[in-house]
């Protein structure tokens, strides 16, 4: 799973999400089959079950709210389906993210014609998230060293924003200084090998098969 081309995994995920979302709400066997497919993916990728499930549970408050409303309006079957569809979809997305390094994932999305601007934003976000959160931690530590608690938090967030803004300026200048003209040249094109094709074909067959059979 980890070694497969990001594009194969992204397309497989899209297929899976589509299949799960258009599955008839009353067809529980189909949901079991889709769940089994995911379980197989988890097993093949050797992902630790408990942490993955714990992450999916982040979705629960949102999903449960909608399910509860649906239940109360007298559609218990649909409510259950909402729960199942959302959790399966979340789990599937997690499998993709957990088995694909972020850079490969973004590159895969890029070559699948996701707008470049979005990719760049995600790339920069990932790159500077750590730098900015570290800066935030330093500021918090400095505030605490001077005996400050929460009352200055709003101001600190403002300063952090201003600093990030300045940093963005600095980064842009550094890019210009090295000849940036507004277009990122992609460096390495990933290879879509026959193993990737086989992976995609098998996953697609399983998903479509479940859809047709159940």
């Amino acid at each position: 799973m980890h070694a497969r081309d990001a594009r194969a995994k992204i397309v497989a995920l899209l297929l899976y999400l589509t299949a799960v979302s258009i599955a008839p709400v009353s067809s529980h066997t189909a949901f079991y089959a889709y769940a089994a497919l995911l379980a197989a993916a988890l097993g093949i990728a050797r992902l630790p079950l408990i942490p993955v499930l714990r992450r999916v549970l982040v979705l629960l408050p949102f999903v449960a709210t909608f399910a509860l409303i649906t239940w109360l309006s007298g559609q218990p079957v649909r409510a259950l389906a909402i729960l199942e569809k959302s959790l399966l979809s979340g789990l599937a997305a997690l499998v993709l993210v957990a088995t694909t390094p972020i850079n490969d994932l973004l590159r895969g999305l890029e070559s699948l014609a996701v707008p470049r601007a979005l990719i760049l934003v995600a790339q920069f976000l990932y790159r500077y998230l750590f730098v900015i959160s570290e800066q935030g931690q330093h500021m918090r530590m400095a505030a605490r060293a001077r005996g400050s608690g929460f009352h200055s938090a709003a101001g600190a967030v403002g300063v952090l924003f201003a600093r990030s803004w300045e940093r963005a300026d600095g980064i842009y200048q550094a890019m210009l200084a090295r000849g940036f003209t507004g277009r990122f040249a992609a460096l390495s094109a990933a290879r879509f090998g026959w193993l990737d094709a086989a992976f995609l074909a098998l996953t697609a067959a399983a998903i479509v098969g479940i859809r047709l059979a159940l």
């Binding site: 972020i102 850079n103 790339q123 920069f124 990932y126 790159r127 500077y128 750590f130 730098v131 940093r167 600095g170 980064i171 200048q173 550094a174 890019m175 210009l176 200084a177 090295r178 000849g179 940036f180 003209t181 040249a185 460096l187 390495s188």
Partner: protein, 230 residues
């Protein structure tokens, strides 16, 4: 021949501060000059003019080419600017991609850009970290990689803004050795006098956006009482 020639450069910040107030400056081929002066005396503002990142009044010639909007792109390949904040300079996901960023912008093919990036990383002895994320490097390593990113563009002039900041003494020593071995003309913006003295044959002293004096590093240090010895 002068690789950098600046005449009467003036620049006012949008808030009205006169940051540069008539700067004349020359840098000869292969020469290494230290730019000294107080915080806020206009040193960084000055170097940002050298490749057109800031535009003031006056004339700037780089390798005989007058700097203007049309030549800025070409001049950015001649002047390699290493920024004070290495984190701002290293923005690509991996070290190798970051160093290849400049060559790719020059229009080189992927193979050529990668070859140049590898060579530049070898030059700064950072070949072993090329697949790492810049975030995971130490301050000294970041500085070296930032320098490699500039060397990969094969510039004729290196401009380094506060290159020794946050480097431990061995890393500073390594940087001095590394810079000594590079043939390009160099302009070092620095507060680090030992560093300036080890490398620069001449110092230029900035004060309130003007050149207040120039000469041998030792002489300038004495003239402006520019020492931290209490």
């Amino acid at each position: 021949m002068n690789v950098v020639q600046v005449r009467g450069l003036r620049y006012k910040y949008p808030d009205g501060t006169q940051a540069l107030d008539g700067i004349d400056f020359d840098l000869a081929e292969g020469e290494c000059v230290a730019l000294l002066g107080a915080n806020g005396s206009g040193k960084t503002t000055f170097v940002l003019h050298l490749n057109g990142l800031l535009e003031g009044q006056g004339s700037i010639e780089i390798c005989g080419m007058p700097l203007n909007r049309r030549t800025a792109a070409a001049i950015r390949t001649k002047i390699g600017l290493v920024f004070q904040e290495a984190d701002e300079q290293l923005f690509m996901p991996t070290v190798l991609e970051d160093v290849a960023f400049g060559p790719l912008n020059l229009g080189l093919s992927h193979e050529q850009a990668l070859a140049r990036a590898r060579k530049a990383l070898e030059q700064v002895a950072m070949g072993s970290v090329m697949h790492k994320a810049p975030y995971h490097l130490s301050a000294g390593e970041k500085r070296r990689v930032a320098l490699a990113g500039v060397l990969a563009m094969d510039p004729q002039v290196l401009v380094l803004d506060e290159p020794t900041t946050s480097l431990d003494p061995p890393a500073q020593r390594d940087l001095i050795r590394l810079l000594r071995a590079l043939p390009q003309a160099k302009l070092l913006v620095t507060h680090d006098l030992a560093f300036a003295e080890a490398l620069a044959s001449r110092a230029v002293f900035f004060d309130h956006g003007r050149v207040a004096g120039q000469g041998a590093v030792r002489q300038i240090v004495a003239q402006f009482d520019w020492t931290s010895n209490a």
